[in-house]
């Protein structure tokens, strides 16, 4: 088992978001002390309930209970009193704020012709810290990079699939792989369907994805992969969580054009993955490396790495 070293979290924490809360609630959260406030991983806000805080695996809660309307007030101040400016994101159920942090929204969903048009009467919010761990991919880069013909050549990049159950660090690892490859001179295209990889905010990536990385934000992977190939001629495309038939087709298209794909999928075993919609890609050896992650003993633990034939190599 390989332990991915946690070197540095550059995300700046949730303080930047909490700072935008109305003073009453901001003070309640900061009253737990600076250590907890700085290491907050999640804040859950619900009408008629206390504010729940999660820091270093522990749960804390405020004594005060939120009054009806308070949740909407907190959301309004986080959105700079401009709901229209975030309406596209709101229809997906979340908004991305400065720092790449994400606010999940629940309330009464307004449907129009079978599509989500908006959310009103907001009842709860889930603010999650977006983690960025610089250097987390370093121990596995040797499995991703192939040697060039000479010492000075940059070589190539193997197509990789990162597999794990939710909450094991797939996105954090994928982001650092993209950043590392970009720094090594590869042209990277990131198709960030859920705005998690780059955390784009007003056209600026809030996460370090390297100097040679282009980002298609909020775009369907199936569309974005094709668009990226045509528009930006990347050498590597990174995208998170493939799983639909259309995603698989887009990956095939990318591989046919000679572009390497580094992506992630939910799962826990090779056999389970072979039975899923992306099983065909594995059968055909589309991914030269399949990396399995676990959250034991800690998030980001690489349990095994398989090659294109499904043989364990590490």
């Amino acid at each position: 088992m390989m332990q991915l070293e946690v070197q540095k979290d550059e995300s700046g924490g949730l303080s930047i978001i909490i700072d935008q809360f109305p003073p009453k609630y901001k003070n309640l959260i900061f009253s737990f002390g600076p250590r907890i406030a700085e290491s907050l991983e999640e804040v859950r806000i619900k009408a008629g309930a206390p504010i729940y805080l999660y820091s270093k695996g522990r749960e804390y809660r405020t004594e005060a209970v939120l009054a009806p309307g308070d949740v909407e007030g907190i959301l309004a101040s986080m959105l700079s009193y401009s709901v229209y400016s975030y309406q596209e994101e709101i229809t997906k159920g979340f908004v991305t704020l400065p720092g790449g942090h994400r606010v999940g929204i629940c309330g009464k969903v307004i449907m129009d012709a079978g599509k989500v048009k908006g959310i009103k009467e907001v009842s709860s919010l889930n603010i999650r810290r977006s983690k960025e761990i610089i250097g987390v991919a370093a121990p596995i880069m040797g499995q991703i990079l192939t040697c060039g013909p000479g010492q000075s050549e940059k070589g190539g990049v193997r197509s990789c699939l990162i597999v794990s159950p939710p909450g094991c660090g797939k996105t954090t690892l994928l982001r650092d792989i993209a950043r590392t490859l970009s720094q090594k001179g590869f042209r990277i295209g990131v198709v960030d369907e859920r705005s998690e990889l780059a955390g784009m905010y007003q056209g600026i990536p809030q996460k370090d994805l390297g100097p040679r990385t282009d980002v298609l934000d909020g775009c369907l992977k199936s569309e974005g992969i094709t668009m990226m190939i045509r528009a930006m001629a990347p050498e590597v495309i990174c995208c998170d969580e493939i799983g639909r038939d259309a995603d698989v087709e887009a990956v095939y298209e990318a591989l046919c054009t000679g572009v390497s794909i580094i992506t992630t999928a939910h799962g826990s075993s090779y056999e389970e993955m072979k039975r899923s919609k992306i099983g065909g890609l594995l059968e055909e050896g589309a991914f030269q490396r399949v990396i399995f992650l676990s959250n034991r003993p800690q998030i980001g633990t690489v349990t095994r790495i398989l090659n294109e034939s499904g043989r364990v190599i590490s």
């Binding site: 109305p22 700079s80 009193y81 709901v83 229209y84």
Partner: protein, 172 residues
Amino acid sequence: MIKLYLCVAIILLSYLAGYLYTAGYEKRVRHMEGLLNRFQQISTQMRYSFETLPELFSQVYLREEEPAGMVFAAAAENMRQNTGESFPQIWDRAVRETFARTALTESDMETVIHLGADLGKTDMTQQEKTLEHICGGISALLDQAKEERKRKTKLYRTLFTAGGILIVILLI
């Protein structure tokens, strides 16, 4: 000869007094036009740039510094200060803070406060309707202000000039 000069001066001064007395009506129209123009700019800008209210408000203020723009600068500042107020409260405070520096009437102020309260809280389709409603409301106020200017300026300038002539007659 001196008497003649004095009479002319009295008539001119009374006309000038009438002019100064009615300047408020002129200013009210100008400030109302400034307000309407800014809301129209915000409407266009919002539709194309999707920028947030603090950004839009700061932009319209920067374009021209005059009393009508101050309300937007004050509201943008209030929003950035993050005082925990709702937008209607922020807007109300901004309008009241800057009201004294404009020629708007108390009733204009209440209408502007009422019209602006729904800004920002819905999606773009609703915001377009909200801004249409705001612009419609301010246009109606502007029409009233223009009508009042027309009536009152004519009335007071005539009255002041007539007063001047009366003084001259009495002096003669």
